[in-house]
Subunit: 392 residues, 4 copies
């Protein structure tokens, strides 16, 4: 008995729901790429990115996904044979490191687990060992969508400083920018990157890199540079060069509108909204968890991300639950991936999400738990409502 | 602290949420009106309407809203000075009657209340009194969006038959077609009408009339006929005549897609979905009502509509609650109108609505009740979830 | 060998090309009809209509096509049995008159032809005969899309004044408003009406009526009034009343954007653009006409409309030419209708039309004439180019 | 006196006019990237690309523009220090070579001019000199949008064969695929690449590479491979890998619809359409050229591209002409770039273009020439019409 016939909801950790305004902005003919309104669009996007990253550094727009931005960060700043240190806390930092092996980099992974944030003390210890400063870059994600962890970037920066280590500090904010606080300059980050399709509410296909002065300096001598991702070429005076070729116009029209939406709401307000909806989600999961089957993947509550909540289901196949919410209720929630594959669900509260969407999604999950006889303590949605009532 | 930044929901009893597919179908250039694909579109719409009304009668499409369809029903079948009987059960049947005064008809309203369905016995009694058969038409709504009542059209037909009265039986299904069962031919209805913007999930601007053989017969001698609404002209062989002028193409493109959606889901399944979501809504309201402030407008549970639930708030201004769900949560619920103006809220579960939307809306209302200290028994959403879990 | 695969052009005299901005404005969810932004939209549309009609009178928006507006004009101002005079100059004024017979009006048609404008002298003569002032309303179209005629409304007004006749003067501007000058108040017009889908560049489904003080006065006692079209009800204070029911939201979103486009370009500039493109079209037709087959339907050059050019093809079936331009070239031109049915073609230069579209259309026609061996003097497009080069 | 208010035309050599159907296909919410309909979309795009390239080889889709595809072609098949030979015939092959310098390749440019195609004999001679087979890849464009040249890829292949040279033959078809014949397998091409935004009628942001068996073999040992562009990873079994990360969903929805349009029209028919519209354009330019100012950039008529015509204006600033067609007539034509910068205009007849668009564009240019007193022989549009009339 399907009840899904209505708006379909995509509550996965990316791509996320695209606002109607963004889709509408993209529904237009192509325009000239050498002159006219596209130039102003580019300027607005580049400066909007500075506001998002909170940086005075340079920003770049790539027709590419987040993996393209990973390559951009590394190839623009490093040299063949350089060693890099990837800070493990789930799938993505390690994945970023893995990806760089093809680039002729030597990758070391700082050991970590899928259930905890990166430990700043461990980082500091490892860097102190590296007295010869062989490590040229440190790679971390602010939020790992696979594990649901939130890493404390400020604390990691302090660890690097404590070790007096000169490595470039590179942060992947794909699953966090436009969701939770990020302060590139204040926190001393050298390269930050993100994608269009998560907190930034736009279709996938664009990624963005911000580079601070230390990264700029490294760029001057980097020999891994490639034509497509190269920063120098993209700083050329011709508009066309800013994209190393034809600009992805429609995606830019959409992204520019998404930036407007973020700034119209107010970036701090966006962060607050994400915190509240994450709190509501966690309250529901806490209640359900009393039944002994559901549990948070991230053990330390302080490190659970405000953009996605990853929940394990002990000895229980999560697919029937995901099928139920999708086919019967009309909401797609995320499956777990990587090491957690088929171990649980991922509930996104990321981007263009409001109280009705989150509460409706939690209701669908609770309905599914009941219908499928998955042991849980009832009252999860009630707990979410109570949490919001207390916080608003 | 607004949490409304996400998809906005319109849970009012019309216009309702328009599916993306319908909006997309409308986003196209105008086309020729004398030949080509528009002709096939018209045929598909006219025959789709027969399937919706469940009739072998003739169907008509008007560029007009539901009030236009009211005029169409009356002017095509009646004569100056005719008496009509409007069956009161809220705002709309009486409104229809009121509207017809300008047409030089004599309108009698069968007394009723805003809190109950039309009583078939009363109708039978009144018709029996009319031994001279002065009453030429009987007007009723299947669902009144203002009161939330569901009238039992079959029972009313039986009352007419019991009185052996020849009046035309005209049913307004604006707030019910595409939501709940309606059987024009099986139930013996002479004229049925509806609009595009409620159960039929399309933008407002189109209305539809179906006429059975008795109505056709009456049409032959009706002297209230007007050019724009006239059935005879609209049966002409030229495509243009079917709309008495330029067809409202874009609305037709959208409506045709909406018909596809209804039939793809299956009309019976659409009805079942509405029943289940209405049950969930009523379960929540029942729970909240224990707090002594909320109560159903329609007293007899058998006559509460499956397309909209009207709730009174005793001694409580409903506007802060509606503002809260809209501004803080992102869902617009209906205010009460007519005699009930400012007395409560109207929760629609009509058209393009799924479990997530209904449960999310109920959650937003429960959050609002809590936040605004409106006395209610907690657990409404839980009751809705339990109801669905039991029924699915 | 079809070359039509590109943007399709609709160069028929309505519906016309809908600008992308208008379609985009319509691509959005439904919104509340009792409060919020829709109220402002209505105000903007009603006052924009005043600017278009150039009147201080009242304006009304109908969910209806132009034939609905015909009914609205008549039923709001006349009484049963009234005599009206329709000024023949093609299809539409006579059609308007014909349509009103169902309304219990007595219709007289002032004789005219399909090839000439209404003669003011004849009108004056007929009105002078009507010493009892039995004629209550005079109906005329400013441009007849079927014949291509332009009637001189000012001259006709003078004729009425010369006869000192008190009849209401009603002008159908469906095929002219937003294309050529119209001055409702300055020219002394009592009722003017139009539709959304021609000069106003919007999807069909809306029509508009403007009423001056004399019409308002007549309205007070008019007994033909009907619920749906009634002006009094539509002047009510509730927003909903302005549309006698649910407003056709999406059409309003689109029309409002179309108004913006007209006023951004500038109404006088819009008129000039239509004149120039009509001049170009006529220059081409003049050239082709030297071949002895093509000729203008309207014999007096001063009365050829600036919104549509109607061309006869002597002893030549026009359908192969229309098929050619559509199937091979990608542009749909109009067929002739009514008395001229299958006698020629209609080339629209109406609404959202620029030089490329008109010159491309003329090129396609000239190509079709050549390919189909329809006798014509070559150089029509060249003449159009020369005309524009001289005028710009 | 601007007459541009109508559909705006973009007749530049990319990005090109995007069909309404393609824009509509993109106007939808994001969907899941791990399962569901996106998988089928990818399969359809990859196999559609094989049909376009006419190959049994492997195809790859990149979220990147054409310059990204350049990098993809080179990095997947070559090694550091390899020598490549770029065949000069305008801007792009040389540009491709230039771009590869950052990749640590040694680039040699086979001398050529901006006014002629690559000479197969010269290629053969150069390859014969390379007895040690140091040249590992030969780079050429089929059409150069900057010069307007069409290179004879088959003849160049024969030259390579005649020299018995084993270098990989790589062809950039960005400005030609979906416009003119291309036979990857039959002609013996090892790597072909293109972009979404020209003949393929889609928004920019996607590029495509096809690789034959020899390229696959080279890939196995290529040490220039990078993570983002790597073919091996993209052949992984997980859908996500096919895009090395999040797929650019909306661009894929659009591109898939564009493929449908191409195959519905028929690929051969698409080619014929381009030839005819190019012939018409060249006929007009020939006529204008008699005035002594306009001339074709490519001197040999056999090598003028069927997708874009590049025209020089002797001693005449072309910008007023481009401004005129855009601001007064409503069509944007291309400016010249590179060595030809400000020397002339580029008239595209590429992608979603029909007879009305091309003839309208030519008319606007002829009007501009007349209005701006740029010497030219009148009758260009007439010549275009005559050409089409003869050919259809």
């Amino acid at each position: 008995m399907p009840l899904r016939y209505g708006k379909e909801f995509l509550m996965i950790p990316g791509p996320t729901n695209v606002p109607e305004e963004v889709l509408r902005a993209m529904h237009r003919p192509a325009i000239d790429i050498y002159e006219g309104p596209l130039l102003e669009t580019t300027d607005a996007c580049l400066s909007g990115l500075k506001q998002l990253f909170r940086t005075e550094g340079k920003t770049y727009i790539y027709a590419a996904n987040g993996h393209g931005a990973w390559d951009a960060a590394l190839t623009n700043t490093l040299n063949r044979g350089d060693k890099i240190l990837a800070l493990h806390s789930g799938l993505f930092a390690a994945g970023w490191g893995e990806a760089s092996k093809l680039l002729d980099l030597s990758v070391e992974v700082l050991p970590g687990t899928w259930r905890a944030a990166v430990d700043p003390d461990k980082l500091e210890a490892r860097l102190k060992e590296d007295s010869g400063h062989e490590i040229k870059a440190i790679l971390v994600v602010q939020v790992d969508t696979a594990s649901g962890v939130w890493n404390d970037i400020q604390a990691l920066r302090k660890a690097i400083d404590a070790a007096q280590h000169p490595a470039l500090f590179m942060v992947d904010t794909i699953a966090s920018l436009g969701c939770i606080p990020f302060e590139m300059d204040e926190w001393g980050i050298d390269v930050a990157l993100t994608g269009s399709q998560k907190g930034l509410m736009s279709p996938p296909g664009l990624s963005f890199v911000a580079a601070g002065p230390k990264a700029d300096k490294a760029h001057e001598t980097a020999n891994l540079r490639t034509n497509y991702f190269d920063w120098t070429f993209r700083q050329g005076s011709v508009h066309y060069q800013k994209y190393c070729g034809t600009p992805p116009e429609h995606l830019l029209f959409g992204f520019r509108k998404a930036l407007d939406l973020v700034f119209d709401e107010g970036l701090e307000q966006v962060w607050n909204r994400h915190t509240l909806l994450a709190d509501a989600t966690r309250a529901a999961v806490c209640q359900w968890a009393k039944g002994g089957v559901l549990e948070f993947n991230i053990e330390d509550p302080r490190h659970r991300s405000d953009s996605v909540t990853v929940v394990r289901l002990k000895d229980t196949d999560p697919e029937p639950l995901r099928d139920f919410t999708k086919e019967v209720c009309g909401v797609t929630i995320g499956g777990t991936i990587g090491e957690l594959s088929n171990e649980g669900i991922r509930i996104a509260h990321m981007g263009h999400v409001n109280a009705v969407m989150t509460l409706g999604t939690l209701s669908a999950i609770e309905l599914g738990l009941a219908k499928l006889d998955i042991p849980h303590e009832k009252g999860g949605v009630q707990a979410a409502i109570d949490t919001l009532a207390g916080a608003l």
